[in-house]
């Protein structure tokens, strides 16, 4: 296992480097000057040009791209990702204070999507071609086809306006801070995120379960006198998890993409909002930092998928 991990990690690191080069080059090559655009046209005055030039020099934007990359790399390896072009704050700080809420949202969202997908998938597989199966298919198709922001807007209208059961924005009420309050704010965004991701998972679970339910060992379990629940859960389900878990792990970046949209709609103070405004304002350092995070997430989730596979399937254990 250790040798496997080391090998995978070294490949990942190489890929990671290539990604940083690509992102850096692409971001800095986008047309437009982030410093110049900070001054609206009707507020230009005689000192503006000098201000812009000074700021650019200060941030090193007047150097050639490879030089800039080199500086960035050497700093990054020491844990310094530069400063935001907008407000001068260290990128690590800016990202750091937003990552918590996003992880929270993604975590609970993932949990909810699994809580929807697993039972539905198992039931649909057991009662194939029944009304329950068709219903589950409709639900899963809906979760995939209906855009997340659309669902979110409807939910906001119904649940926070018509019936005022939930707050519609923010992570908590500043005048009433408590874990319960935070959870209250978390419910709607996490449920919508979870629902949106549950569709594909449910389909995977269902098809995996159908395959396993037709397997010989299921017949053996029945022949031993095992009750149906035990056969489904303890035998078939455990086997069906093997492909499903790896798919879920590899889908984590998808979860992040969904979280970005939800965060916008619900004013959830996570990385999604940061990313959108950084891109709009051409805040190079933040964009690169954010893209880096995603790259790490993708690499980690793929690695996780591979590791999970070996953990879950005893036939693939590495010696």
């Amino acid at each position: 296992m250790a040798a496997f991990l080391v090998r995978r990690l070294s490949i990942n690191v190489l890929v990671f480097f290539l990604i940083t080069i690509a992102i850096f080059a692409l971001v800095h090559k986008t047309p437009g000057d982030p410093i110049a655009m900070q001054i609206p046209a009707d507020q230009l005055n005689s000192s503006s040009a000098e201000f812009i030039a000074q700021k650019r020099a200060e941030l090193g934007l007047d150097q050639s791209l490879p030089v800039q990359y080199w500086h960035w790399l050497t700093n990054a390896l020491q844990g310094n990702l530069g400063v935001s072009l907008l407000n001068g704050r260290p990128v690590t700080e800016v990202l750091g204070e937003r990552i918590g809420p996003t992880v929270e949202l993604m975590g609970v969202g993932l949990l909810i999507s699994l809580l929807i997908a697993f039972p539905l998938g198992i039931l649909a597989a057991r009662r194939r071609n029944s009304w329950l199966d068709y219903g589950a298919t409709v639900v899963s198709l809906g979760s995939v086809s209906i855009p997340v922001f659309f669902v979110a807007l409807i939910v906001i209208y119904v649940f926070t306006l018509k019936f005022q059961w939930f707050p519609s924005s923010g992570i908590s009420d500043p005048t009433n801070p408590s874990l319960l309050n935070t959870l209250h704010h978390l419910v709607l965004p996490a449920v919508i995120l979870g629902f949106g991701n549950s569709g594909p998972f449910m389909r995977y679970v269902r098809s995996s379960m159908i395959t396993e339910l037709g397997a010989d060992y299921v017949r053996t379990a029945n022949a031993k006198g095992a009750p149906p629940t035990r056969v489904v859960l303890r035998h078939a389900f455990r086997n069906s998890l093997i492909p499903v878990l790896t798919v879920i792990a590899a889908n984590l970046p998808q979860l992040l993409a969904g979280a970005v949209v939800i965060e916008q709609v619900f004013a959830w103070p996570g990385m999604g909002q940061l990313a959108v405004s950084a891109v709009n304002q051409h805040d190079y350092s933040v964009i690169v930092g954010f893209a880096l995070l995603i790259a790490i997430l993708v690499l980690v989730s793929n690695l996780l998928a591979d590791v999970l596979y070996t953990v879950v399937d005893p036939r693939v254990r590495l010696r």
């Binding site: 397997a215 010989d216 060992y217 017949r219 053996t220 379990a221 029945n222 022949a223 031993k224 006198g225 095992a226 009750p227 149906p228 035998h235 455990r238 086997n239 093997i242 879950v312 399937d313 005893p314 036939r315």
Partner: protein, 341 residues
């Protein structure tokens, strides 16, 4: 539970019910497929007495496996099972609720399947699966006792170093050892009846002999009756007391193994025996039965065997022969079985 007590139990049971351990009467199984209805099994009857080994012989598609599976209702939902009676120890299995049937499965009736690689759960340890067989039938679930019994069972079936092996997964066992484990599961709760579906077919020849020996030993020690499904006449000769020959979903001949081998009363059985390779006689060529097994979706009219039968006559094409007594506990479904006497 000692074996001695078991034997008394059985004869007691039998004397009370005054009948065979397992009685199957008029069993028919239809499969509803997209291409129409397939009559996999038609009007099959067989009896198994306590301690008896009955071999059910036939080619692939003859309906022997389906017959065996229908006893414990292990067929898929697309199968329609109809029988006048499927009675075990006098109780009709068809009338049982699922919960009651589950008490029979893996308890008084144990099953051994053909391919132990797929028949064992790949993500559960062998020990867990054997212990599960015990746990499911304990009055009070006792995991420790079940695991201990699992180790003991593995030792019984000849798995070396059972205390270690019990924690291993099926893919870490060899083919023969897996089948031993399956046998261990089947006999875990001292069954009265073992149904073995082609237990050696998936194994290579050298292992086959070992597993067969094991089956013999298990049967001898537990005194269980056995239904042995196979297409291998050599296995039949080794183990069976009685033989049921099936063709195209029907029983075509029954009888004791010695008599049947010495004196087959159905052209199909004769053909089977003739096609066996023999060590003691020199032949230039093997002598197979000509033709192919019938298409069960559209079987031949009259006697299903007539296209391949050396004795076939006009009558065979239109009139299906009924299974009838031909003397000395023998039955045959052929219009011209006298000619083979």
């Amino acid at each position: 539970m000692s074996d001695g007590m078991l034997a008394t139990d059985r004869s007691y049971a039998e004397s009370v019910n005054n009948g065979p351990l397992l009685r199957v009467d008029g069993l028919s199984v239809d499969f509803h497929t997209e291409d129409g209805v397939v009559h996999a099994v038609s009007d099959v009857s067989l009896n198994v007495h306590a301690g008896q080994i009955v071999a059910v012989v036939g080619e692939s598609g003859s309906g022997k496996t389906v017959t065996a599976m229908s006893v414990l209702r292990l067929l898929p939902k697309s199968a329609e099972v109809m029988a006048d009676a499927i009675a075990f120890r006098g109780t009709d299995l068809q009338a049982m609720s699922p919960a009651e049937l589950r008490k029979v499965r893996g308890g008084p009736v144990g099953m051994i399947f053909q391919d132990p690689m797929t028949a064992l759960n790949p993500v559960m340890t062998v020990g867990a699966q054997v212990a599960e067989a015990v746990l499911l039938h304990q009055r009070k679930p006792d995991k420790k006792a079940a695991w201990a019994r699992a180790v003991e069972l593995l030792r019984l079936v000849g798995v070396p170093d059972p205390a270690q092996r019990v924690k291993q997964y099926p893919h870490e066992f060899s083919g023969g050892m897996r089948q031993r484990a399956m046998i261990a599961m089947a006999i875990a709760n001292d069954p009265d009846l073992i149904i073995a579906d082609e237990p050696t077919t998936a194994l290579d020849v050298t292992i086959q002999a070992q597993v067969l020996a094991l089956l013999k030993k298990a049967q001898a020690e537990t005194g269980a009756a056995t239904i042995l499904i196979t297409h291998d006449l050599g296995v039949v000769a080794e183990l069976a007391d009685a033989v049921v020959v099936m063709y195209a979903g029907r029983v075509v001949e029954t009888g004791g193994v010695q008599e049947l081998f010495a004196n087959p009363r159905h052209p199909y059985t004769k053909g089977l025996l003739a096609s066996l390779p023999r060590m003691d006689v020199e032949v230039d060529q093997l002598d197979p039965i000509p033709g192919n097994p019938p298409n069960m979706a559209d079987p031949p009219a009259g006697c299903a065997f007539h296209p391949r039968c050396p004795l076939a006559r006009a009558r065979c094409e239109t009139e299906r022969p009924l299974l009838r007594d031909v003397g000395a506990g023998r039955r045959s479904a052929c219009h011209f079985s006298e000619e083979l006497a």
